[in-house]
Subunit: 206 residues, 2 copies
DNA sequence: ATGGTAGCAGACCGATCGGTCTTGTGTTGT
DNA sequence: ACAACACAAGACCGATCGGTCTGCTACCAT
């Protein structure tokens, strides 16, 4: 009945999304035109607009994928240890490792690029921020800390700080600095011996 | 000899810069066209281009002014107390108070908007980041903390976190959370009794 | 009063944006 | 072999970008 599709839509969709995500990550959403995406993919406009009827649709797909990446990061982090205290610290470590060399967090950057309150990109980003807050809250609660919400907010503050633009300009040992800070925070909040014992270093050597 | 200028160039320059700064702050540099600035000011293009020969010049002026604001913030913070420990905490408090309702830090946002390494805006922003790092380092050193650089980086991490886009989406007591965290950090780093004594609240109630 | 000029308004320019439509070509199933 | 189809290429559209240029108006010193 059908004349057999040359390219399955999923394949095209994936190729377009890959190229767009790469360009968006590197140059920002506003700065990248769809023509550039098309040139990168090597397809016609026809295909792109079949998969993503508008640029906003493409942006939303890009952000949703970024959300998935975060979820994967969180899951794999959770898998490394069962202790919730270590999970929080490990999360900070992971973020601090994957930030250098990038422009930061796609969701945060894109959120900043679209101040119009009704833009679909903001919706996705806000949902994500809310989810992250909830996820951190869950882990923090498992630690048995007396004030889990404050613990979660503190860790989130560090993670946001790591994603901050221009942070790369700092010393290259941001990983150690942020991880040891997270460790101190967790220690203070869980009451498990907060005092600094000078052993901040712990083979953090990136 | 001259037919008397109707508007002194300084006045025009200031009015243009005011309008541009307001729009850039609210909508982002890329999203604001010069026509919109002109409409806001109520002057002709002639005047704008006489003061700022190109948009980049306007952007740079906007960023330099933002740097001045920061310097003022820092100075007034320093003036509130002579104790360097309190200065760091007060700085965090100030930032946490002025962030809500804004789009964050103009310098950080604009830096994120221009990934091209040779853009003049990046130059200004990078200089600022470097200066801030140095300023925080100076104060941290005055505390006599054994590792002042780490203390400074920790405080900077919090400040960057506060400026993070989408942070406004969080609870409204970010001020208290960040300030108490800063307090804990300073206590830990200076060795002055790190243990949490539950008295995080201190009439922080915005 | 009048000539000269500062400055606002807006036409205008080429480039580029997101998005649509056409055209030519190469593959496919029959 | 041939008709049907999918696709890449790109012309095209209106809007808007940064930036230039030109009138017209209103004010000024003389």
């Amino acid at each position: 009945m059908w004349h057999m599709v040359r390219q399955s839509t999923e394949v095209v969709r994936e190729r377009v999304l890959n190229a767009a995500a790469d360009l968006f990550d590197r140059y920002g959403v506003h700065a990248v035109g769809l023509q550039r995406v098309i040139d990168e993919v090597g397809c016609g406009k026809y295909m792109l607009y079949r998969e993503f009827p508008s640029k906003d649709d493409l942006i939303v797909a890009y952000l949703r994928r970024s959300c998935q990446y975060w979820d994967q990061t969180l899951d794999s982090t959770r898998a490394t240890t069962t202790r919730p205290e270590e999970q929080l610290i490990e999360l900070v470590r992971t973020v601090s490792r994957q930030v250098p060399g990038t422009r930061g967090c796609p969701l945060r950057n894109t959120y900043a690029e679209f101040p119009e309150h009704d833009h679909p990109a903001r919706q996705v980003a806000l949902e994500h921020f809310s989810l992250v807050r909830q996820q951190l809250g869950d882990i923090a609660r498992q630690t048995g800390a007396p004030e889990p919400d404050r613990l979660a907010e503190r860790i989130l503050l560090i993670i946001n700080g790591l994603y901050s633009p221009g942070h790369t300009a700092g010393p290259e040992d941001m990983s150690e600095i942020s991880v040891t800070l997270a460790r101190d925070i967790v220690a203070v909040e869980t009451g498990k011996h907060p005092t600094r014992d000078q052993s901040g270093q712990r083979a953090e050597a990136r």
